[in-house]
């Protein structure tokens, strides 16, 4: 699964003042280990985002300062090959000591013993899950053990173009909006003559239907990760919203149009009045001066209930690292308040509670608090052992319903069957 935006050259200039000024005393991760003769050596840290490299380098240097004789080597592999290579490296015993993990891949690594457990209590604790949004910390727990320390997170919210709203005389979206408000406004905002559509309805999981499905009372994956929820009529309600947006209300571009011009790009170009976006795109919108004053963000409209899917990356430790102690100390540092603040002005929202304000403040024209508030009604991102296998099928089959080539009922049947089959294979392995 590809996700996580890079980008924003602007965002790579990390102010030093934020953490230098008053972030309290640095953590003391070293004391425990340094008693028994501080471990020396070189550890590697695998990341995939070139635009977050400066922050990661800064964190590495900072850690080195507190630990004489230790060096941290940040390694960059672009997203396109990151996972393939990581799997190969893991089987060969040469994966980085610490590396980035995302939700869809986590199950595979945790279930196959590629990750070291991270202590959550006692004097050796690497992190306290209570310091992080609960659904995020839970995402990186596998069968009762914590394997990942949340690094950052993103939630989904409704981004809208104020100019298009004002021109059509439609009230800006707010906290009170329901699906019905979304539909009527989208219809009123659609102006085909100008090539403007009310809302974008691409086949996007995290941005679109992973929110609307729980909002409709449906589910993607059962709690025990053995059963697909795509047969549940409420789940289908959450999908129907988007299909109707295209074919019934005609308030969204068609799937073909959205293939040629990605929804986010259309929004940037002023051809979409509304779009569901992950928080990391805020920096993208901010980077374009022409867009900065035109767009803003509101909470997702509620269906039967309120929901916004939360996802984020975590730092994990490779099971066969030659420096398990050192690697865990580094993760402890990254998860500390100080470590979190090092990336607080980047594209991503730092995961640790109480370190997110600099992110909100870095783009003052946007109501970014919306993305933070979403944590309160967040739903966890659905993952299983081999998420990649079924999420690929999910996208492939759902796009047939979106394009209108097949009815949603037919797609629901074939998707449920395919997904349950893949989940059953996971159980066997």
């Amino acid at each position: 699964m590809r996700r996580r935006s890079l980008f924003a050259a602007a965002a790579t200039t990390f102010g030093t003042t934020a953490f230098a000024a008053g972030c309290g005393s640095p953590p003391k991760p070293t004391t425990a280990s340094s008693k028994g003769g501080a471990e020396r050596g070189r550890i590697t840290y695998g990341v995939w985002d070139v635009y977050q490299m400066p922050a990661m380098e800064k964190a590495a240097r900072e850690f080195e300062r507190t630990r004489p004789g230790v060096s941290v080597d940040v390694q960059l592999t672009p997203n396109a090959t990151y996972w393939t290579k990581l799997r190969t490296a893991c089987s060969g015993g040469s994966a980085p000591d610490v590396f980035w993990m995302n939700g869809p891949n986590f199950g595979l690594y945790a279930d196959n013993g590629q990750l070291l457990p991270l202590e959550t209590e006692g004097p050796e604790a690497i992190l306290d899950p209570a310091d992080f949004p609960p659904d995020l910390a839970k995402l990186y727990r596998w069968k009762g053990t914590q394997y990942g320390a949340p690094k950052d997170f993103d939630t989904v919210a409704l981004w809208f173009n104020k100019e298009l709203f004002d021109r059509a005389g439609v009230d800006h979206p707010d906290d009170s909006w329901t699906w019905q408000d979304l539909i009527t406004s989208a219809q009123r905002l659609t102006d085909r003559r100008r090539g403007v559509y009310g809302v974008g309805a691409p086949v996007r999981a995290q941005e679109n239907y992973y929110n609307s499905i729980p909002q409709a009372g449906g589910w993607v994956l059962s709690k025990d990760r053995t059963e697909s929820g795509y047969a549940d009529p409420q789940t289908l309600d959450g999908l129907q919203l988007w299909i109707d947006m295209i074919h019934r209300y005609r308030a969204s571009p068609t799937l073909q149009q959205l293939t040629d011009t990605d929804a986010t790009q259309m929004f940037q170009a002023g051809k979409l009045a509304m779009t569901y976006e992950c928080s990391y795109n805020a920096a993208v919108f901010w980077a374009d001066p022409a867009l900065r004053g035109k767009v803003d963000v509101a909470p997702l409209p509620r269906g039967k209930r309120r929901a916004s899917v939360i996802h984020g990356l975590a730092n994990v430790v490779y099971a066969r690292t030659p420096h398990p102690k050192l690697a865990r100390d580094f993760v402890r540092f990254l998860s500390s308040r100080r470590g979190a603040l090092l990336q607080a002005k980047g594209t991503a929202i730092p995961a640790r509670n109480g370190t997110q304000q600099p992110w909100v403040d870095s783009m003052p024209k946007f109501d970014l608090k919306v993305h933070l508030d979403a944590v309160d009604y967040a739903v966890p991102y659905p993952i299983s052992t081999n998420t990649a296998a079924w999420s690929h099928k999910e996208l492939q089959l759902l796009s047939r319903a979106w394009s209108g080539d097949e009815s949603l009922a037919d797609v629901s049947r074939s998707l449920t069957k395919a997904m349950n089959q893949l989940l059953a294979q996971e159980g066997k392995a």
Partner: protein, 335 residues
């Protein structure tokens, strides 16, 4: 050339002396020499020694991976290594996997369409080879540019050109009163759209090969033909085409191999490297067999199944190449 023939004849007293029409005799001499060519050296240890560096490198870095892949295609592969033998299971699955058949078909169609670019290259080469043509170096450079440009950049640009709503192509069609379409997301046309890019990428390379071949054709052949009263068109078919056939053959063989292996360009033009991913409504019509291999082994954690797919492709390429070598006797003339 005639000097060469004489020298060969001198070196090989056994072959009959040249006689009759010079051209015919030259070609029969060549053929004879080819058949009777003796090896210059018979010291086998020198042979092994000269081949060893390249051979060992290829064996370690290329042949070994191929054999490994062949082995993996008969196994089930855990995501972090660990294989278990399952015999022909992967191949059996392939037989019933519509995705495999469709993408194999897509690759074959793509290959045929890209081969249609060879006549285009041929026309360009003939034009550039016209007597008195000026600026050939300039044209050559322009036509060769696509060959040296980064595929990632090429794909982005073509996606813009093909854009259904705002693309230049549709704007141009609009101007002449033709309705365009969504070129990269319309299942009916996507194959042609990507093949056009394939032609665009290869036309310059093939043109230069063919141009070089054309320039090697001795002028007196044409003069002889025109003395016989052959017009331009007949000259093309009786002189140019036969004498160019070895180059055409080489171009065709390479085009087939490369087209069947096409991957990154189509992958990116379909938008598979962006958030669009597999949700392109024309994805299954555009997906090539190497794309499927890549998807299975790099993203879906099904490396063994991917191995089986690529093994089938390998056999297919070998078969098609062997077939072409077989058929070349019918149309390729070595002088």
């Amino acid at each position: 050339m005639s000097v060469d023939v004489e020298a060969t004849a001198a070196a090989k007293p056994a072959s009959p002396p040249p006689s009759e029409g010079a051209a015919r005799s030259a070609s029969s001499q060549r053929a004879l020499r080819k058949r009777e060519r003796r090896f210059l050296h018979r010291d086998k240890w020198w042979g092994y020694a000269l081949i060893a560096p390249a051979g060992l490198g290829l064996a370690v870095f290329y042949l070994w991976p191929v054999l490994q892949t062949l082995y993996f295609s008969f196994t089930e592969w855990g995501p972090f290594g660990g294989t278990s033998w399952i015999g022909l299971e992967n191949y059996r699955t392939m037989l019933h996997d519509p995705e495999v058949w469709q993408s194999l078909g897509n690759s074959l169609i793509y290959t045929v369409l890209v081969l249609l670019g060879i006549p285009v290259s041929m026309v360009l080469a003939v034009l550039l080879n016209l007597k008195g043509m000026r600026g050939t170096g300039f044209y050559r450079t322009l036509y060769f540019l696509p060959v040296v440009t980064m595929p990632a950049a090429v794909a982005v640009v073509w996606r813009w050109l093909y854009n259904g709503d705002v693309g230049i192509l549709n704007q141009a069609l609009d101007a002449i009163g033709v309705d365009g379409t969504y070129w990269v997301s319309d299942p009916g046309v996507v194959r042609f759209a990507v093949a056009a890019v394939g032609v665009w990428m290869t036309v310059g390379y093939n043109m230069i090969l063919l141009l070089a071949g054309l320039q090697g054709i001795p002028q007196d052949y044409y003069e002889a033909a025109s003395l016989d009263g052959a017009g331009r068109v007949r000259q093309f078919f009786s002189v140019t085409l036969p004498l160019l056939s070895p180059t055409l053959f080489f171009t065709t063989v390479l085009s087939v191999i490369q087209s069947l292996q096409v991957f990154d360009l189509i992958y990116m033009i379909l938008g598979a490297n962006t958030s669009v991913g597999v949700t392109n409504p024309a994805y299954s019509e555009g997906q090539t067999i190497v794309m499927l291999f890549f998807q299975k082994s790099f993203y879906d954690n099904q490396r063994a199944y991917g191995a089986a797919i690529v093994c089938v492709l390998f056999v297919l390429i070998m078969a098609l190449t062997a077939l072409q070598f077989r058929l070349q006797k019918r149309w390729v003339h070595y002088d």
